[in-house]
């Protein structure tokens, strides 16, 4: 079977790519579309660094065939970032030193965005549970948890992100 054309909405924009059978969304995003915020970590579903939002839900793009997202909404960190600044979740990560090497950050930030969309006032325990699939080796998580709490506060205060 030859390659197929797959159309989906990437960060609000209609996008069309040509993919070989079973090419992952991760490879399409990074290598075909140049959206390199989505990281390549373990490619086993174990690290969370390739997290993207599919119809608003966090999923692992390394395990997702691109053909499966035809007609659906994909959000990457690029789509969260406004042209002239930072999304409130990004701002909170920046302000709270929640980024060290940065490899987990895109997945962490997208997971945080999905969490706060569902639960604008998460408890510390709910935050911990939500981010437990996004492995961070540098920060010891404390700064990240604090950043998620700060992002929740900021978004409640009206700085609404998309």
């Amino acid at each position: 079977m030859a390659s197929k054309v797959v159309s989906f909405t990437l960060n609000g924009r209609e996008t069309e790519v040509m993919v070989k059978p079973l090419t992952t969304l991760q490879v399409v995003l990074r290598e075909q579309l140049g959206h390199t915020a989505t990281k390549t970590g373990c490619r086993q579903g174990g690290c969370g660094s390739c997290t993207v939002l599919l119809n608003g839900e966090p999923v692992l793009s390394c395990l997702l065939p691109a053909e499966d997202v035809a007609g659906q909404q994909v959000t990457t960190l690029e789509g969260l970032t406004p042209i002239d600044g930072l999304h409130p979740v990004q701002r909170a990560f920046f302000d709270h030193y929640a980024v060290q090497c940065g490899y987990c950050s895109p997945g962490m930030i997208l997971t945080t965005k999905a969490l706060l969309d569902r639960n604008p006032t998460p408890s510390r325990e709910e935050i911990v549970e939500a981010i437990s699939g996004n492995i961070c080796r540098c920060t010891g998580y404390t700064a990240i948890i604090e950043a998620v709490e700060a992002a929740a506060q900021a978004l409640k205060g009206g700085q609404n992100g998309r």
Partner: protein, 276 residues
Amino acid sequence: MIVKDYFLPESLDEAVTLLAERGPDLLVMAGGTIAMMRMNEGHLLPDQVMGLRRVGLDAITINGKLSIGATTTLSTLANNESVPMLSQAARSAASWSLRNMATVGGNLFARNPYGDVATALLALNADLRVINRNGERVLPLADFFAANRQLEPGELLADILVPPPTGQTVYHKFGRRAYNTPAVVTIAAHITRDGDSVTAASIALNGVAATPVRAIPAEKMLVGQPLNGETITAAAQAAAETVDPPSDAVASGWYRQRMVRVILERVLTQIMEQEQ
């Protein structure tokens, strides 16, 4: 990736037809959390793959029994409160993003020590509805595991049928981390009591064999007995003595065997202390 063909059938009919035509060389994949991982690593190199995301098996319905479509995601099951032990089992599996992809049907095929949702299903005496191009049959989940997860050629798992629990249920996944953890052992227990006496006991263990298994000797010891310190200790001891768990990176067989006793004691004690 060197897969030649990737099929995404739009209906169950289409899927079983493909399976019949292509035969056992067609790799069937639902959420992709097992197969894609192995393909990414180069441990699995199929020529042809069939994805099930569009076949329409992703709903939970209640009609006497709970019917869970095979491609229902663990997140969907976690959010369905109709059988608390099942939502708890789904919620404690892997991570949020993985639960959004992994399916209940796929969980039945997960290698040990994964597949904890299947453990809860086993304790609840679930049945599987499998179909092929000519019809369907229903087989007990226990038989499926006893046959080392083999279906007949051309058969596809369609639904998991769960009779409503008649007694008390406790699910305990014992891992090294609080969240997103593989199991050391997982125990799902469904105990029915009449007054003091246990009338039916179903105890499923995971992490102790190639598939989830029932702790039959422990179940037999409990039936007809009251739940008390003595019977609980004896049943937990019996369960531990009848397993020979494997060693892996999560835990050794030595440790798992001890934990079967400790965790089952805790699970049964919790049931004893609960109101019936």
